[in-house]
């Protein structure tokens, strides 16, 4: 019997549980040099807003121990250009497309979601209620259960296919916000976005990033992300996509065992562009070696 590495997230069936994290893999074109993007479970694209955005001032990246800080912000081409210029490539490559959406107001999010609903090629939206880099909006939705709920409800009204809420770790009680999102209609959750952090340029005696703070990602945040996936799965039973610091198959497996049904890989692509195909192969080998029928049988097995 061939191992079943398919995954299911909020009603969406994926051929395998591995996909890039929003903002780290562009629109799939850049890494197509290394392998076909259609090999992945899904492709999650950069945070997309109603209008094009310039993003933050450089420098935008600072390396920190076992991680990186970024303050890219929401530089993106806007939803119309995404549909006309970026989506055709993904469709041609038979990708399952998940669009990460963002905005400054509830109406912004709802407008983007409505526009994407018209596009058959978009399988799901991932609502970024957690981007720590946008002064207005962004963070505000993610830190408060009541405002997260209002946002998810209004996106749900516009978007009939699977809706995934992407949560911020920069909150007091992630379980409460996760519960509010699920109660408001989210079909699944992505955990976690970057952790707010900072780096100082000691030669110039000022923060290294012009934005002062940035979002920490990479291996440094893996234990934080794992703990949050575990707690939310245990408390809510929701479908979860786990993300944060994954750089090999074993890391991905930890997330599955903690309760994630699928995983995203971000920063690790930067130092190993082949990391996602390696993880996908790892799942197949692991299942066969351990005579386990399906990845689904491993979801949450570590929960006590």
């Amino acid at each position: 019997m061939k191992a079943d590495i398919s995954a299911e997230i909020g009603g969406l069936i994926l051929k395998n549980p591995v996909m890039p994290a929003s903002g780290t893999w562009g629109y799939g074109e850049e890494y197509a040099e290394f392998y076909a993007p259609g090999e992945l479970g899904a492709v999650v694209v950069k945070g997309t807003t109603l209008e094009p955005r310039q993003g933050n001032k450089p420098p935008r990246i600072a390396e920190t121990p076992a991680g990186i800080l970024n303050s890219v912000g929401l530089q993106n081409v806007g939803v119309e250009k995404f549909i006309s210029e970026k989506l055709p490539f993904l469709k041609k490559n038979k990708c399952t497309v998940i669009v990460n959406i963002a905005g400054d107001s509830v109406d912004d999010y709802a407008d983007v979601a409505r526009r994407l609903m018209d596009e058959e090629g978009v399988s799901a939206v991932e609502v970024n209620i957690s981007c720590p880099n946008v002064k207005k909006g962004g963070i505000a939705f993610g830190v408060n259960a009541a405002s997260a709920s209002v946002l998810i409800k209004s996106v749900k009204k516009e978007y009939g296919r699977p809706l995934i809420a992407k949560l911020s770790p920069n909150v007091t009680d992630i379980v409460e916000i996760a519960g509010a999102c699920i109660d408001s209609g989210a079909d699944a959750l992505t955990l976690i976005n970057t952790v707010r952090g900072m780096s100082i340029d000691i030669n110039n005696r000022r923060p290294l990033l012009p934005n002062c703070a940035g979002g920490l990602s990479g291996p440094a945040i893996k234990p934080i992300a794992l703990r949050m996936v575990y707690e939310v799965k245990k408390a809510t039973g929701a479908d979860i996509i786990g993300v944060g610091g994954i750089e090999c198959f074993e890391d991905a497996l930890e997330f599955i065992m903690a309760g994630a049904s699928a995983v995203q890989v971000g920063t690790a692509n930067f130092y190993n562009p082949m990391v996602m195909p390696e993880i996908i192969a790892g799942f197949g080998e692991y299942l066969e070696k351990n005579k386990i029928g399906s990845v689904k049988d491993l979801v949450g097995v570590a929960i006590r």
Binding site: W25, E30, E33, G55, P59, I61, A66
Partner: protein, 264 residues
């Protein structure tokens, strides 16, 4: 774990290269020769490679280095020790393996008109590759600036591939005294194009000069990078074109940009 074992694309190599030679050419500045590949053999001057130092000291990101020369046998890089990653590279020895991604980015055009190649410090490295490719253009001159004679490198190598090589140092300890921007004003005659690499103030100075003189100028810029392949928007610089400003990627549209369009 099957970590970086020689999988790569049609245009971009990603895998292990062997260190063929490494030597300190001037204090804290190293010339490293690594084994090439079919993709790297097609490198163009101004492109770079993304090198992954051994994962010591909890570093995660690769380090971008300009290609100083490349053929089907070897790729030459010149780097200065700045921090953890470059220190790590300096400790490599013959036969060691390092992980390499490249060639990446968009390099210099190969002008047919009289051209001045202007390099400051480490910025001379990619110009060596460019000068070699321009050997058929007899109207190529080179201007190399260094802090002082102790930091100057590759002068003989440059002289062996180009006729007009000018050297200047800030303190006058080698060649003429003064910086590259001042000297460019003195030596430029009928050149129509400048190709430059070096510190930003130098590139800005040269771009201002080129603008005033009505010359074309191409500059190679540096910015902190994430992915190195255009996917993360981490490495941008501001470009002004047709009255509109936008961020472009150093790793994709760059590192070489039209100097008159860069918002310094």
């Amino acid at each position: 774990m099957n970590f970086h074992d020689g999988l790569s694309g049609e245009k971009i190599f990603f895998g292990l290269s062997e260190v063929i030679n490494i030597k300190e050419i001037v204090r804290e500045t190293f010339l490293i020769e690594i084994s090439s590949s079919s993709q790297l053999a097609k490198s163009e001057p101004g492109q770079f490679v993304y090198i992954i130092p051994k994962m010591q000291k909890r570093t995660v990101l690769p380090r971008p280095l300009c290609i100083a020369d490349a053929d089907s046998e070897t790729v030459k890089l010149i780097f200065k020790i700045r921090g953890k990653g470059t220190l790590c590279l300096s400790e490599l020895g013959k036969g060691d393996k390092i992980s390499v991604m490249g060639p990446l980015g968009t390099g210099f055009p190969l002008p047919r008109e009289p051209v001045l190649l202007a390099g400051g410090g480490l910025g001379a490295a990619p110009l060596y590759f460019l000068a070699k490719k321009l050997r058929n253009n007899k109207k190529t001159s080179l201007l190399l600036g260094f802090k002082n004679s102790d930091e100057a490198y590759f002068i003989d190598e440059f002289k062996s591939i180009a006729k007009n090589v000018f050297v200047c140092t800030d303190d006058g300890s080698l060649g003429a005294g003064g910086n590259v921007v001042e000297k460019a004003g003195e030596i430029i005659k009928n050149e129509k194009v400048i190709c430059a690499c070096g510190p930003r103030p130098m590139l800005k100075g040269l771009s201002d000069f080129a603008g005033k003189k009505g010359l074309r100028i191409f500059v190679s810029l540096e910015e902190r990078m994430g992915c190195g392949v255009g996917a993360c928007l981490g490495c941008v610089v501001k470009i002004r074109r047709g009255g509109k400003e936008e961020y472009q990627r150093v790793c994709k549209e760059g590192p070489v940009f039209d100097g008159l369009e860069v918002v310094y």
